[in-house]
């Protein structure tokens, strides 16, 4: 079997996910035996254009990004969204909570019109995405698992169940028992419950599970002492793009 050619691309992001890919090599140098990397700007100069698998990091934040995305989609047989920015919009989408003009002027002042920008969005808002590797940043081991699944022609093994499952299986003390807050019950697992394990509530970086009981989650947060605004703010840290419409609807009510 010839090695599949893969390429990495980045849009608005911190490049932490690509860095995590580089990190994955520390323990999985054999990744390089299994795939041929033809483009990875962060780590190499060569630029091959004959890739079959495209890993895309980052959100689409300006109209000119779209053309680049279309081009990638046209070439790649498989497009994988790498990390929360690409999968959800991530922290980039926090700016969508403010009027766009205000955001531009706040940062660039009277030079605002020099810099192109629009509402930050996940990649699948622009092109079809075949698989996602969630997380901010992605989980090293999950990245490797997904690569292996792609090699096998299997569905990527990204869990659909909530974080509480992993957290409980690790036997962590639940943060709600410590008087803290956590989005674990509505957030997709797969990170090994890394935040609760380190004493901090899940912030939802892996996105919501398929049928989250958002109302019950808000009730739980309220009972734990958050105001409605605070509870909503917790949802928006990484999922603004997903929950914003619903927030607007609810406010209208």
């Amino acid at each position: 079997m010839s090695k599949p050619k893969v390429a990495f691309f980045d849009f608005a992001s911190c490049e932490g996910c690509q860095l995590t890919v580089v990190d994955a090599l520390q323990t999985h140098l054999d990744l390089l035996d299994a795939v041929e990397i033809v483009q990875f700007r962060e780590a190499m100069t060569e630029k091959g254009e004959d890739y079959a698998v495209a890993f895309i990091e980052g959100s689409c934040t300006r109209p000119s990004d779209e053309a680049r995305l279309f081009k990638i989609r046209e070439q790649a047989a498989v497009v994988v969204a790498l990390g929360a920015c690409a999968h959800l919009g991530g922290v980039n989408a926090l700016k969508n909570l403010h009027p766009l003009e205000d955001v531009r002027q706040w940062v660039y002042g009277d030079k605002a019109e020099w810099y192109e920008t629009y509402e930050a969005r996940p990649i699948d808002a622009v092109i079809q995405v075949d698989a996602v590797i969630p997380g901010c940043p992605i989980d090293r081991e999950e990245f490797v698992r997904v690569v292996k699944a792609l090699l096998l022609g299997k569905k990527p093994p990204v869990p659909d169940y909530p974080l509480c499952v992993e957290c409980k299986l690790k036997e962590n003390v639940c943060l709600f028992h410590l008087g803290k807050f956590c989005l674990g019950p509505v957030t997709r697992a797969g990170c090994g419950a890394i935040c609760p394990t380190h004493g901090d509530g899940c912030e939802g970086c892996r996105g919501l599970i398929p049928h989250p009981n958002e109302n019950a989650m808000k009730d739980v947060l309220a009972e734990a002492g958050l105001t409605v605004e605070e509870a909503v703010a917790r949802f928006t840290m990484f999922n603004t793009y997903q929950v914003k419409d619903r927030m607007v609807e609810e406010e209208a009510k």
């Binding site: 096998l152 022609g153 299997k154 569905k155």
Partner: protein, 274 residues
């Protein structure tokens, strides 16, 4: 042999036949040509190592085993995709047979009405062929088979033989025909008015997609067949096949152990069953 119930035995794929665009027929031989020793309606857990495991009904009849058995598999996901990529000679893991199949002894002397829909013919075929091989011990044999389109009909050669036989009343229908199709058109339930039966002496056997059950059951009950004489084969997610993993539970019943064949009486009113 292994001492773990979860570890498959590596069997050899003897033959693969494309049946429709989505389904293939796999002929499989256990090590040493050992007989699988199954009852009609039982299933095996098929392992594609590295990919996973899936329950698949044995479609061949125990009466025709010849040291091999057959599976008719639709390509829908990981395991079935991997199976469809196999070439004859390949190895695949088999555990089983598991579950309770059709109680053929209880059917002897009775009229048997088969009502498979689509891929539902796969599990029923093992029973149909055994009944036909022991034809003398049964009353009437009626087969009402429906598929969505002519090209989705399974086991076409056998269907033709059944239709041709004098001792079998076999009718086939498709939801939508095409220019080549000169048979019956309509959903499977439109075949029912065409047969008259003696309900007391008839056993009905059906298998198909969940939506089909509701309508077929209405017909069967409408014909007066007792609930204890209607058999269905149900599909559930299964991770062990041996009554442990919990996925296949229908209320208190483990589909893999008590089923996959149930009488309508067993599942009637069970909200989770159909």
């Amino acid at each position: 042999m292994t001492d773990s119930i979860y570890v498959p035995e590596m069997a050899r794929l003897v033959d693969v036949r494309q049946m429709t665009t989505a389904e293939k027929l796999f002929t499989i031989e256990l090590p040493g040509g050992r007989n699988l020793g199954h009852d009609p309606g039982q299933f095996v857990m098929v392992s594609m190592l590295g990919v996973g495991e899936a329950p698949i009904s044995i479609t061949s009849s125990p009466s025709r085993s010849n040291g091999v058995f057959e599976l008719c598999v639709r390509k829908v996901g990981d395991v079935t995709n991997a199976m469809h990529a196999l070439q004859p000679g390949a190895k695949l893991g088999i555990r089983g047979p598991f579950g309770h199949g059709f109680p053929i002894e209880k059917m002897r002397g009775k009229d048997v009405l088969f009502a498979p829909g689509g891929l539902g013919l796969a599990p029923l075929r093992s029973l149909i062929n055994q009944v036909l091989d022991e034809r003398g011990t049964f009353g009437r044999v009626i087969i009402l088979y429906g598929a969505r389109r002519p090209e989705e009909l399974l086991f076409k050669d056998e269907l033709d033989q059944w239709v041709a036989r004098d001792d079998v009343e076999c009718r086939v229908t498709v939801d939508r025909g095409d220019e080549m199709w000169d048979g019956h058109v309509g959903v499977i339930t439109t075949l029912f008015p065409k047969v008259t039966i003696n309900p007391r002496n008839t056993v009905a056997v059906t298998c198909g997609p969940p939506i089909m059950y509701r309508f077929v059951l209405m017909e069967l009950l409408g014909k007066g067949i007792p609930e204890t004489q209607i058999y269905l084969s149900l599909e559930r997610r299964m991770k062990c096949g041996v009554g442990k993993c919990g996925h296949c539970q229908i209320n208190s019943m483990y589909c893999c152990q008590e089923g996959p064949v149930f009488t309508y009486a067993q599942i009637k009113g069970v909200e989770e069953a159909l």
